[in-house]
């Protein structure tokens, strides 16, 4: 069990993940220290989501090892794997909230992994005052406290993204993973959301790994960028060291790829 309040570091060694015959990730080595903030950049299909899902034990590597804060994920029992997942908040790309529940219930759901069935039934149906107060406090931090008892699907896309972040924070995580959290919001909101995630992680001392499409946004909000393409790490650099060459390495299509995409 990962100690609470202690940030989580990640280490991948020679990791390959295949879906059928295509390799989503090939021979990836990557170390992310506890408390670091890292942006994963690269075109769609580069393997960013798969990498994130490796880090919280939602994908199993076909080759190589994944260490989360010293634990090797492959060796863990199911219960221990659930403990690792419970200690890592994940903010998803698409809508991952139950739309016809209240905001407070979606936030409470963040704690399911740390509760037995009856305790979780209680906190979903008749939450204690302290739990409700904590949910309110977290919603206040992400700027939508007044939505506590609204039905989740009455909120805008950006507000729902904040509920998802609140749910992740309600886990009292040691690390936050975010998979394209701003792919469906407009540019101004995108910057707000990314800054909110980096600020909260910094204040709480959480490790933050975020996949993000927008290289500009990544460069201005993160100290370290990891570029992925075709399932491989093509660069791993400080943000101020990422320039045109790296950009081209990520996004320039060679002839073979143009033909493949244009078919």
């Amino acid at each position: 069990m990962i100690m609470q309040g202690k940030a989580s570091g990640f280490r991948l060694e020679g990791v390959t993940v295949r879906f059928g015959t295509t390799a989503a990730l090939q021979d990836v080595d990557l170390t992310i220290e506890a408390g670091e903030a890292v942006a994963l950049v690269g075109p769609s299909g580069a393997g960013k989501s798969t990498l994130l899902r490796l880090l919280n034990g939602m994908v199993r590597p076909d080759e190589g090892v994944v260490h989360v804060n010293g634990d090797t994920l492959g060796n863990l029992s199911r219960r221990a794997l659930r403990d690792v997942r419970a200690a890592i908040g994940f903010v998803h790309q698409d809508l991952s909230l139950v739309p016809n529940l209240r905001v407070v219930q979606n936030v409470m759901a963040g704690r399911l992994g740390q509760q037995g069935l009856f305790a979780s039934a209680r906190s979903m149906l008749l939450p204690s005052k302290t739990a409700t107060a904590r949910a309110y406090e977290i919603l206040e931090r992400v700027g939508i406290a007044e939505k506590l008892y609204e039905r989740t699907d009455t909120l805008s896309g950006g507000q729902q993204q904040r509920v998802a972040l609140a749910r992740a924070l309600f886990q009292r995580p040691v690390a936050l993973l975010a998979d394209e959290p701003v792919s469906s919001v407009d540019p101004a909101r995108a910057r707000d959301t990314v800054e909110l995630l980096t600020r909260v992680s910094r204040e709480e001392g959480l490790t933050l790994v975020m996949s993000i499409h927008n290289l500009e946004l990544a460069r201005s909000c993160f100290p370290r960028l990891v570029g992925l393409r075709g399932g491989r790490v093509v660069f791993d650099a400080r943000a101020d060291g990422v320039g045109d060459d790296e950009f081209h390495a990520l996004y320039d299509l060679d002839e073979a790829e143009m033909l493949a995409d244009g078919a």
Binding site: N56, G57, M58, V59, R60, R78, L81, R82, D83, V84, R85, A86, A87, I88, G89, F90, H92, D94, L95, S96, L97, V98, P99, N100, L101, Q105, A109, G110, R111, L112, G113, Q114, Q115, L117, S120, A121, M124, A164, R167, A168, Q171, G262, A263
Partner: protein
């Protein structure tokens, strides 16, 4: 640029046409096999007379007993009809409560969502042995419950227990419980998995994911379906009156057998009114939950 490879549709028009023709053919064959002709719809003299008398009363239902001699102490017709209606509704409500309980409990065991779906760790011992066995047994059981109609269950239970209310309630609850279990489990298994996946990523167990990720998502549909089944239960409860239970069916049968067609229409209109009222009420409730 023309893409290479097989351009034929996976399910070509010609195959679709053949399937459609075969279905049509099966329908025509069924009619021919049953030796049906429109001539059979022309009734004989006596039948026509009864039909005329019966439908002639559709717009003039009885407001008082039409029997030539009423045993002393018999309540007036409308009171009689409303009493039968009350019994019908109570039977349906009791049967529906029981079948909802059956449907929710058996629906859980007839669902696969709570023991499959974790992308990591393969299948545990439980998910490879006990869970599929329980699932299969539940599917068989609910299939058996559904495959016998409530009227046949009533016949069997009557033989065992006689005309007790419990026999009627159980007769309805068995096939309805089986149907609800099947439909509920399918609605839950087919609910959007993205919220469920997010809860799994937060460390939730399969059972927690089932109750807090999938059931809430399926709940509006489950509710709407349960309301529809209650309407069906009202009809079933009414029909069981033909066996002698004190529901609307018994009144209909007695009036019909005494050729008091006006009374038959009175009972039918009373039943219709309650079903329409119930539909309006459930529509209001659905709007609150689904919208």
């Amino acid at each position: 640029m023309v893409p290479e490879g097989d351009l034929s549709r996976p399910f070509p028009i010609r195959t679709r046409g053949a399937v459609l023709l075969a279905l049509l053919g099966a329908g025509v064959w069924a009619f021919l096999h049953l030796d049906m002709s429109f001539g059979q719809l022309v009734p004989n003299e006596g039948g026509l007379d009864i039909a005329k008398k019966f439908f002639g009363r559709a717009f003039s239902p009885a407001f008082a007993s039409e029997a030539s001699s009423v045993p002393p102490g018999t309540p007036p017709l409308l009171i009689l009809s409303l009493q039968a209606l009350k019994t019908t509704v109570i039977y349906a409500a009791a049967a529906m409560s029981l079948s909802l309980l059956l449907g929710l409990v058996l629906g859980f065991f007839a669902s696969t969502a709570w023991w499959t779906g974790d992308p990591v760790g393969g299948r545990t011992w439980f998910a490879r042995t006990i869970a599929p066995a329980v699932y299969g047994a539940t599917r068989l059981l609910t299939g058996f419950m559904r495959s016998i109609h409530e009227v046949l269950w009533a016949l069997l239970l009557l033989a065992a227990f006689g005309i007790t209310p419990l026999a009627a309630v159980i007769a309805i609850a068995i096939p309805y419980g089986g149907t609800l279990a099947k439909i509920f489990s399918e609605m839950i298994d087919e609910a959007d998995r993205r919220p469920a996946d997010a809860l799994r990523a937060a460390g939730a167990s399969g059972v927690q994911i089932y109750f807090f990720g999938l059931v809430p998502r399926a709940l509006p549909d489950m509710l709407a379906y349960a309301f529809y089944r209650f309407e069906c239960a009202l009809r079933s409860s009414a029909v069981l009156g033909f066996f002698g239970f004190a529901t609307v069916g018994r009144e209909v049968e007695q009036s019909f057998n005494s050729n008091n067609y006006g009374e038959v229409w009175t009972h039918l209109y009373v039943l219709m009114a309650v079903i329409i009222l119930f539909d309006a009420w459930s529509g209001q409730l659905r709007k609150r939950f689904v919208a």
